[in-house]
């Protein structure tokens, strides 16, 4: 069943499907960014595909590889009961770090894309309401990028005696442990 999805994609979009494959039973297709919306629309609307549900959208950060990011779409068809995973490669450079939005196709894309931007910093061009969703607006950076230190807190508030009086920026970057764990 699902093999036919990959075949249909390759037949219809040719060069826009950069790679297809199967791993532990999951069907995967890598799509060129330029054709992404066309591919997604086809998958949603074609009666043989009928991917009515965007199950999940996330980003993988392959630091030190080019292209660095991979935006991953998990699609599911309720009527045909098949799944496919689409991937789009995205470059790290700020002007290249974007993919077109899928908010016009599924409601689910709205929050999922906001989260992907919030945590990974991949822009979704055309998204109607691009704000941070899990982190706060004052937060600097994108915490799930591999080069964001795990412990770099950006406190909004500290009790005066709990906050070191010296350079707070140093604390943000270097001091990863709170006073209690460091003694």
């Amino acid at each position: 069943m699902a093999e036919s999805v990959l075949t249909a994609l390759t037949e219809r979009f040719g060069d826009a499907i950069l790679e297809t494959g199967t791993y532990v039973g999951d069907e995967i297709a890598i799509v060129a960014r330029e054709q992404l919306v066309a591919v997604l629309t086809f998958l949603r609307d074609d009666p043989d595909m009928a991917f009515a549900m965007l199950t999940d959208l996330t980003v993988v950060d392959y630091l030190e590889q080019t292209p660095r990011f991979e935006v991953v779409y998990q699609l599911y068809s309720l009527s045909k009961k098949h799944r496919v995973r689409l991937k789009v490669h995205v470059d790290e450079a700020p002007e290249q770090c974007w993919v077109p939005t899928a908010t016009g196709l599924w409601h689910a894309a709205n929050w999922a894309e906001r989260e992907a931007w919030d945590l990974y910093g991949v822009r979704f061009e055309g998204h109607p309401d691009m704000r941070r969703i899990l982190m706060y607006d004052e937060f600097v950076g994108h915490p799930l990028r591999k080069d964001y230190p795990q412990n770099a807190r950006q406190p909004l508030l500290r009790r005066p005696d709990a906050t070191p009086t010296d350079d707070q920026t140093t604390r943000l970057l270097e001091d990863s442990h709170d006073r209690r764990t460091s003694g």
Partner: protein, 447 residues
């Protein structure tokens, strides 16, 4: 409404249509010309002037803030509402107050160390999360077929117990928010019964960390099955009592029926799964759709309701609890004897006996704990039916003992995304039952 009073007869003036005219109408109806029914007399001139004045009163839209620490918002969510009178014109749902960095933590933990973090995603049914995560890693390892059958049965039993707890908590917490505190005590008492069972098998009341990759940590206790039967009887009784308390209650019905309606199409487009989707009439349950574990060995039904409103969600959950308990009963009959964890030193911890008595065992144990089990490079998306819907884990491995990426597909996140659509147009007070009905769990939604 039966027109019997003397006053009514004089006001309505229509004797031939008994019951058509209301006995009395509210002040708002009096002010609203359209609220006047045929045959009712006009107001006296002085009242009419006042009513006219009231009609021309300007109403302003007000912005109010529900949450992030609000008694009825039993997750940590902030809903900013633009209301006109009681009607919600627009809403902005803000989540993220419980973002605990699950993915960042799991990138720095070995595969088995992630279990405690997984427990705390959907903290109302941790066992289901355990199972979902373990299955994802097993899929990546390619050992799904090799899991001992007894372990699968134990996972099903424990998971279904957790599902009942999840639905119970959801139902009685939202009932408490509607003012039915008695029902809350009944429901928590029932949940307590199952927590005792889960404590027996895992050692912890709610954050169990009972599953392991390749099976479960240890076997059931000897008296588990008779005890479980006894508890199921008690819980059935308590659920019945809870239902009796509320289901014929006018206030309950008024606040649940027809409130927060969501069409099946929208629900699918929002990526909603689980009871909320099934209450909208869409037949999708991973347990039936793609039976994982040993779910194909049981005879159970997936309840569907087509109202799409709060009451439908409530009824679907109630019925699902019964179905879950039937699954448990069947599983307790069918459960085979045997090992509870895969016999593979590369995946399972060696037995304690070997660890303390042989150098090989000790080295294996040390390597296992320090480096974690090795997962071949690759990626897998595995999904199970958790309390709120499809719980997916997308794991990318780079061949080391720690996942390169461990993404949890949270069902609550997608359900909460639809909250805005559900509450716009509703009354302010409806936010509470709607929010209770979609069962947003902060730990899972924000991770």
């Amino acid at each position: 409404m039966v027109a019997t009073s003397h006053k009514d007869a004089t006001v309505s003036g229509h004797k031939d249509v008994p019951g058509a005219a209301p006995v009395a109408h509210s002040l708002a109806d009096t002010f609203e010309p359209s609220g006047r029914q045929a045959g009712e007399n006009r107001l006296s001139p002085s009242m009419e002037a006042f009513a006219e004045q009231a009609r021309r009163l300007p109403t302003d839209e007000v912005i109010i803030n529900m949450g992030p620490s609000h008694p009825a918002m039993h997750g940590t969510v902030r809903v900013v509402l633009r209301i006109d009178g009681e009607t919600i014109k627009d809403a902005d749902v803000q989540i993220g107050y419980l973002h605990r960095g699950f993915e960042k933590e799991s990138e720095n933990a070995t595969y088995n160390q992630i279990f405690p973090y997984v427990d705390r995603l959907n903290y109302v049914s941790p066992m289901l999360n355990n199972v979902g995560y373990a299955m994802a890693v097993e899929k990546l390892l390619g050992i799904t077929e090799r899991i001992p059958e007894r372990a699968e049965y134990i996972r099903v039993i424990a998971g279904e117990l957790a599902r009942v707890c999840d639905h119970l908590t959801c139902i009685v917490a939202s009932l408490a928010e509607l003012g039915g505190f008695t029902a809350f005590f009944y429901g928590i008492r029932a949940r307590e019964h199952f927590w005792e069972l889960l404590e027996d098998i895992s050692g912890a009341r709610m954050t169990h960390s009972y599953c392991r990759i390749g099976g479960v940590a240890w076997d059931l206790t000897e008296d588990f099955i008779p005890k479980c039967r006894e508890k199921i009887t008690k819980v059935r009784k308590l659920i019945d009592d809870t239902r009796t308390l509320v289901e014929r209650n006018r206030i309950f019905l008024d606040r649940m029926e027809g409130v927060g309606t969501l069409s099946g199409e929208d629900a699918v487009s929002y990526g909603i799964t689980g009871p909320v989707l099934r209450a909208s009439g869409v037949d999708y349950d991973v347990r039936k759709d793609k039976p994982y574990s040993v779910y194909d060995h049981f005879d159970f039904a997936i309840p569907i309701a087509d109202g799409g409103d709060n009451l439908a969600r409530y009824l679907v959950r109630i019925e699902e609890m019964e179905q879950s308990m039937q699954i448990i009963e069947q599983a307790m009959v069918q459960i085979p004897p045997g090992a509870v964890i895969i016999n593979d030193p590369a995946i399972a911890l060696p037995a304690k006996r070997e660890v303390y008595n042989s150098i090989e065992g000790m080295i294996a144990h040390f390597k296992h704990v320090m480096d974690g089990l090795r997962v071949p490079p690759g990626e897998a998306y595995s999904f199970t039916e958790a309390g709120n819907g499809e719980l997916g884990f997308y794991i990318v491995s780079d061949g080391t003992g720690r996942p390169f990426k461990c993404r949890c597909r949270p069902p609550s996140f997608y359900t909460t995304a639809a909250l805005r659509q559900l509450i716009v147009g509703a009354n302010l007070a409806d936010v509470v039952p709607i929010f209770g009905g979609i069962n947003m769990i902060g730990g899972e939604c924000d991770r």
